[in-house]
């Protein structure tokens, strides 16, 4: 993994982001007070359960939420500029050019009625005034770079003519077409088979190396995170519950939810546990948040303060949103992940 300069200015800084939606059942707050920063060239991974607000947080950074129903509060600064305050036009110059998005489902992310090449050329020519032929040449290069066999032919293909993995690679090629400083990959491998997932992850890591883009990788698979991330943010019910470097998170996971996540993954080798450790219960819906710590209802370490207040989160370093005394955490962890230390 490429090392980053910790002193470098943040590429993207998100401060106190809170997003709520107007729905038929009233206002629903999907994410609350989310703050994080992305340094140039780093891979930041956001993990969390379905509905925990991973996608919404990144969409609001890009201004892609529906203005009519969504309220976005907080501050988003990209290269020192306040993104949320930007007029549409200026925002569009950032989208695709400086921040690119790869979305979850390669089956639906491409417009079905245009060829893959057309869609890549469209993006290039939206942001740069180059000739159609030059754009095409560049597109083919990109397709080649993401490892599509026979890129010239793939250029003229329609999305449905490509397999899932090829499509996802085409989406990645498109995202890279303007050499963005930041690549947001929203669960780029969830819809893919394991063997294909491996190919795509490999590609993403390679791209960071070749293009130097920072990457925000959204996923719910702890395995993927451990493989590629520099830093990790764990989200639960619209809030960040833990954040830190990969080593901090995997070496010293400190939030009961993170433990649960790690514990519930069936191991692929070694001894087979008789039962998997699991987190009982279900995550709350945005409309139904408990007043205190969001994880409290499922937490086996829950005690009075958990129901009363939302635990605070440190602004930097290995931050944990939990009322359990830091000193007591390893003991608690041992209850959930008995063989953690030995495993490491």
């Amino acid at each position: 993994m490429a090392a980053q300069d910790p002193a470098a200015p943040d590429l993207l800084a998100v401060e106190g982001l809170t997003v709520s939606f107007a729905t038929d059942r009233g206002r629903v707050t999907a994410i609350r007070d989310v703050s994080f920063a992305v340094k140039p060239g780093e891979i930041l991974s956001i993990v969390g359960e379905s509905g925990s607000g991973k996608t919404v947080s990144m969409l609001s950074v890009l201004g892609l939420t529906d203005r009519r129903t969504t309220t976005v509060e907080g501050a988003v600064t990209f290269r020192g500029r306040d993104v949320l305050g930007l007029p549409d036009r200026a925002l569009r110059r950032i989208r695709g050019k400086e921040i690119a998005l790869i979305s979850q489902d390669p089956m639906t992310a491409l417009t079905p009625v245009h060829t893959v090449g057309w869609q890549i050329v469209e993006q290039i020519r939206t942001h740069e005034s180059v000739s159609a032929a030059a754009a095409k040449r560049r597109a083919i290069e990109l397709l080649d770079a993401v490892g599509l066999p026979n890129p010239a032919e793939a250029f003229g293909r329609y999305p449905h003519q490509l397999s899932g993995g090829m499509r996802q690679r085409a989406v990645i090629a498109m995202a890279l077409s303007c050499s963005p400083a930041l690549l947001v990959a929203d669960e780029p491998t969830t819809a893919l088979d394991v063997t294909v997932q491996a190919q795509v992850l490999d590609l993403i890591v390679r791209l960071r190396r070749d293009f130097g883009s920072a990457i925000v990788l959204i996923t719910h698979d702890m395995g993927v995170v451990s493989e590629v991330a520099d830093r990790v943010i764990v989200m639960y019910a619209g809030r960040i519950v833990e954040s830190g470097t990969r080593d901090e998170i995997f070496g010293n996971p400190s939030h009961p939810y993170t433990w649960g996540l790690i514990a519930s993954i069936p191991p692929i080798d070694g001894a087979r546990p008789r039962r998997l450790a699991s987190i009982p219960g279900l995550p709350p819906t945005p409309a139904n948040q408990p007043p205190g710590c969001g994880f409290a209802p499922r937490c086996r370490f829950r005690f009075a303060p958990c129901d009363a207040t939302v635990p605070p989160l440190a602004r930097s370093g290995h931050a944990v949103r939990c009322h359990i005394e830091p000193a007591a955490r390893p003991d608690a962890r041992r209850l959930v992940l008995p063989d953690w230390e030995t495993a490491r």
Binding site: R25, P280, G281, L282, T285, N288, P297
Partner: protein, 340 residues
């Protein structure tokens, strides 16, 4: 395993209710649909009050020719049908709108009170459209479900039949059927339907749209048949008939409900079109379409006669369409049902 604490299953109310109640709640929150429903109720009440209006307000029998009657307006006796006295003295013109209780909208070419006929006509229009809708949906469900569920040869025959009817332009089919039936009436076994019975337009309109509803229903049943919950029932060894009744029909029923207002709207227009071509409701019965048709001969001199029922149709159909949108959104927001 009972130790797992369970959060409430869904947001909001503690004891949430079934799909029907959910749809109802959604519908009740739809202001446009509620407004449309109110308009429809008012229209229905108005047409139900037709005899009251005829007897007590206009004081005429809207089914009786009153060619030589005279009425008093502003103290003067005026003939309902006025013979031309100018020039060559050609033509006889019925009285125009008086905006009073008698002949509010004027008279038609038989000297009958148009306002009263409008109300009576509305009864027939709504009755025919309503019954035809019921009939159509019943037949379509029967055909669609049978074809979709039993498949095989049954499906082949029924689908081909639907194909044929589908390629037969609706109005032409309706007209052919009307002409046959109006000339001869209809005898099915012991039942004889007279040629001027309202049953005929109901039957005709009910039948012609069957392919348009049966096809989507068949498609839906085919999808349902392949759906996992039906497969699950099959796997559980549930008898076919029970699967049909318990798993398939309830799901088809919402589609049918969604079709109701839309088909109503369509049927009102179709009925009026047939009546306009004088092969729908037969005189002396009236429907909005027949009044338009009768008014056509007076369009230049007394346009109110055919404008009024036209406006009634537009308002009713508009309300039905708005309500239909609401019902569709409430039951099945993603469906793109479009009967035509």
């Amino acid at each position: 395993m009972t130790d797992i604490p369970l959060p409430p299953a869904t947001a909001g109310s503690d004891r949430p209710d079934g799909p029907w109640a959910r749809a109802r709640a959604k519908l009740l929150a739809d202001h446009a649909a509620i407004g449309a429903a109110v308009v429809l109720v008012l229209i229905v009440l108005a047409v139900l009050a037709a005899p009251l209006y005829a007897r007590h307000v206009s004081g005429t029998d809207p089914f009786r020719s009153t060619l030589s009657a005279k009425i008093e307006i502003g103290g003067k006796k005026v003939p309902v049908m006025e013979r031309s006295t100018e020039g060559l003295g050609l033509g006889v013109t019925p009285i125009g709108p008086t905006w009073g209780p008698r002949y509010l909208l004027g008279a038609d070419s038989q000297g009958r009170d148009v306002a009263a006929r409008l109300l009576y006509g509305g009864r027939n229009s709504l009755l025919i459209a309503g019954s035809a809708t019921a009939l159509c949906l019943f037949l379509a469900a029967l055909v669609g479900v049978t074809a979709g569920f039993f498949g095989g040869a049954v499906d082949l025959v029924l689908s081909r039949l639907l194909d044929v009817l589908w390629a037969f332009p609706v109005y032409l089919l309706a007209i052919s059927l009307s002409i046959v039936l109006i000339n001869g009436g209809l005898t099915i076994g012991p039942i004889t339907i007279a040629s001027n019975s309202l049953m005929l337009p109901i039957l005709i309109i009910g039948v012609i749209y069957v392919p348009y509803v049966a096809r989507p229903i068949r498609g839906q049943v085919l999808t349902l048949k392949r759906s996992e919950f039906v497969l699950a029932s099959v796997g559980l060894g549930i008898p076919r008939r029970r699967i049909l009744v318990k798993d398939i029909l309830p799901n088809v029923s919402t589609t049918l409900i969604v079709f109701v207002p839309l088909m109503m709207a369509l049927n009102i227009v179709t009925e009026s079109a047939l009546s306009f071509l004088s092969i729908g409701v037969q005189p002396p019965d009236a429907s909005w379409g027949t009044i338009i048709q009768e008014g056509q001969g007076l369009l230049y001199s007394r346009p109110a006669v055919s404008l009024a029922p036209g406006i009634a149709i537009v308002v009713t159909v508009l309300a039905l369409n708005v309500l239909g949108d609401g019902v569709r959104d409430a039951f099945d927001p993603r469906s793109k049902l479009r009967p035509r």
